[in-house]
């Protein structure tokens, strides 16, 4: 194992972690503040990717398409809150799960009808297509660096919003005690709608950033939503800070596990056995972490303060 590979894999893990954070932050806000289980959060991630891909092809500019797709995805998120989530707030979690699972099927089928089954590729401008040399022969694709930059910027913006603005204060207050917030005369429905739209925009941004790498695909959200749930459980439901740290942790563990587990296994088992068991174990790794957290610290690593 050499340093150059380790650095690259750490960057890859960071990139995955930041994408996970973008998805998980919206999920944890909605779950923590609205007490609403939104399985369809992954569908907003997918819609973000499809909007951005379509606009990139129409407008010929990825950056412009990304900027336009953000408010569109936020609007879709607001509509989901208004027409699907709002009537269900008083019901229990099982009803949330049923309704939003149904929503996944509806959105997947609509996507199939509108864009066809083949998915969409996103053409990147030339300056994002190449590679950046860090030192010697250590090169990383430019676009992956951009994902890391955009992810960090979004995370920073979110921290500022939550910790230093009036809206953020209301969000934090809502997470602690929403009855009290509404008793103080705050339009809680508007606040919930905004939180939902914000979560949708963040998930959509993650979808837009990953689409040039994996293409916009039907069902692409269903894989990441499961990992995002792992992130918010590990981080503590409702905690942005917890989601951030847990997302980076999960991203790094998953990537480094995929990269180095077979090498580690060969130290104490035959190469064939290592080759066969490493992919299975590395796929399980994040769930093992989640199980450990649930067993020893069920409230998560960084639970939000009292409720």
């Amino acid at each position: 194992m050499d340093t150059s590979l380790l650095v690259i894999q750490t960057l890859n893990g960071l990139q995955l972690g930041l994408l996970l954070f973008l998805v998980a932050s919206g999920l944890t806000l909605v779950f923590g503040i609205l007490d609403f289980v939104n399985l369809a959060h992954g569908s907003l991630y997918m819609l973000g990717a499809f909007f951005c891909a379509t606009l990139t092809i129409w407008l010929g500019s990825f950056i412009l398409a990304l900027l336009i797709s953000l408010p569109i995805t936020a609007l879709v998120g607001y509509l989901v809150e208004r027409f699907v989530a709002r009537p269900l707030y008083t019901r229990d979690h099982l009803d949330h799960v049923l309704a939003t699972f149904g929503l996944i099927l509806v959105i997947d089928t609509l996507t199939h009808m509108i864009w066809g089954p083949e998915g969409l590729a996103v053409p990147l401008p030339d300056w994002l297509r190449g590679q950046v040399t860090l030192w010697g022969d250590t090169v990383v694709p430019t676009f992956r660096l951009m994902i890391i930059g955009a992810g960090l910027a979004a995370a920073g913006g979110l921290f500022w919003l939550v910790n230093h603005t009036r809206l953020g204060m209301l969000i934090r207050a809502g997470a602690s005690n929403r009855t009290m917030v509404s008793a103080l005369g705050i339009d809680i429905e508007m606040l919930f709608g905004l939180v939902f739209a914000l979560g949708a925009a963040l998930a959509g941004l993650a979808g837009m950033l990953i689409a040039p790498i994996t293409e916009a695909n039907i069902g692409m959200g269903n894989g990441i939503i499961i990992t995002a749930f792992v992130v918010i459980i590990v981080g503590g439901i409702g905690s942005i800070k917890g989601a951030f740290i847990a997302a980076l942790l999960i991203g790094l563990i998953d990537t480094l596990g995929r990269s180095f587990l077979d090498d580690i296994f060969t130290l104490f088992m035959s190469p064939t056995a290592a080759e066969n068991s490493a992919p299975a174990i590395s796929a399980m790794l994040i769930y093992i972490i989640m199980a450990c957290v649930l067993a020893f610290r069920p409230q998560g690593l960084f639970p939000p303060k009292v409720r």
């Binding site: 890859n12 995955l16 590729a121 053409p123 297509r129 694709p141 695909n217 499961i226 990269s259």
Partner: protein, 393 residues
């Protein structure tokens, strides 16, 4: 689940006697998830085959019922059970995925129906699990990568890094190339597969590069193929780590790669048993009509599905639409007297095709569309490596 009856051609309805029962063909493929793009190519080809046949085999009407495997073995088995028990089909054909076919085979074979794979070729079913009622119009998984292994030897590649999805076919594909490739295997990655498959290969590509191998062998069918090629180009590996692939660069991924301007893929070489440029009457008709009807090239998935329907039609016609004599039906299938888009078609002892394998190159056709053409023939009348393990009962 979608149910489509393809015999609703007005002409054939008018001319059919009211007494004859149509022969029912269940066709299992992926109609949802990102892999539905492959399923669509297959159902398009089946619809075209039915159109070419006029919905009939001789005097017998044919009916196709599509079923969705949802890219998962358990869903595929349920779909197969429904076709066998509820729809009481006579043939079950299709199957993109080896793990889906392996999970579904028993449902069909136990009911003494005929099972025809139009794509998946798991090693088990060519060898120990072979069955007199199972036929394939594709290949055994190992064969295409074996041809690639021999191409690599002749190109002087000394060490190779392998990447494939972690399921039955991924393991067969890497086993195939390892069987014929004489150089050193520098490393191997099997990645998560299924409806939530891993599509970001950053960690694996970095490992492959660090391994110092001469070449990179991959198997990523369907949408994953396009995603892989993009990341390969974004990582800038073309000069240091040339790509050798099977079932990855095809008529499914090429239109999207062209749309996104990934010109690195032009000139890349893949092995395959079929190509749209193969020079025979059946293939010309298939490719021309497919392009006219759907506006793009068919893939090998489509070609194999077209052959599966033509094979069934030839056998049904030969037995005069009477499927009660199973021995006669199996004999008629085994003779395989139909005009294959491969030009010639014959079955080996294990009911897998004995066929040629070609080296294909990605080129731009006269209309500026990216496609493939045959460069050379790698294997002639190739028999798969598991035929000897097959004790046909």
């Amino acid at each position: 689940m979608r149910k489509v009856t393809s015999l609703a051609l007005a002409a054939s309805l008018l001319s059919t006697s009211a007494f004859a029962e149509p022969v029912k063909i269940g066709f299992v493929t992926t109609l949802t998830t990102g892999a539905a793009v492959i399923g669509q190519d297959m159902t398009n080809a089946v619809d075209l085959a039915m159109e070419h046949l006029g919905g009939k085999a001789g005097d017998t009407e044919l009916e196709v019922i599509y079923a969705d495997d949802g890219f998962a073995p358990e869903t595929g088995k349920q779909a197969t059970d429904k076709l066998v028990k509820q729809d009481d089909v006579d043939f079950v054909a299709g199957y993109i995925w080896s793990h889906v076919l392996l999970a579904s085979r028993k449902s069909v074979l136990d009911a003494d129906k005929i099972l025809i794979s139009a794509n998946a070729g798991p090693s088990q079913m060519a060898g120990k699990l072979c069955d007199k009622n199972f036929f394939s119009t594709s290949w055994q998984n190992d064969q295409t990568p074996m041809a690639m292994g021999d191409v690599l030897n002749s190109q002087g590649v000394k060490s190779l890094y392998l990447m494939a999805p972690n399921y039955a076919a991924g393991k067969d594909m890497t086993a195939g190339v390892e069987r014929t490739f004489k150089g050193e295997i520098a490393g191997k990655d099997l990645t998560k597969w299924g409806a939530d498959a891993q599509l970001d290969f950053s960690a694996e590509l970095a490992k492959a590069k660090a391994s110092g191998a001469d070449g990179l062998f991959v198997f990523y069918p369907g949408a994953a193929g396009g995603a892989f090629i993009k990341q390969y180009q974004q990582a800038g590996l073309k000069d240091t780590l040339p790509l050798y692939s099977v079932f990855t660069v095809d008529a499914i991924s090429l239109p999207k790669l062209q749309q996104a301007g990934f010109t690195d893929v032009l000139g890349s070489k893949v092995t395959q048993q079929w190509d749209p440029s193969l020079d025979n009457e059946a293939n010309k008709k298939f490719v021309t009509d497919f392009k006219a009807k759907y506006g793009h090239y068919p893939s090998y998935y489509g070609a194999q599905s077209y052959d599966a329907i033509m094979l069934i039609a030839s056998a049904v016609e030969k037995v005069g639409g009477d499927l009660s004599d199973k021995d006669a039906l199996r004999a008629a299938l085994k003779e395989a007297e139909f005009d294959s888009v491969r030009g010639k078609f014959k079955f080996g002892t294990n009911n897998m095709p004995v066929e040629d394998f070609f080296l294909r190159e990605v080129v731009e056709d006269e209309d500026g569309v990216w496609t493939t053409k045959v460069v050379e023939t790698v294997y002639t009348d190739h028999v798969d490596s598991y035929a000897a393990d097959c004790k046909m009962n």
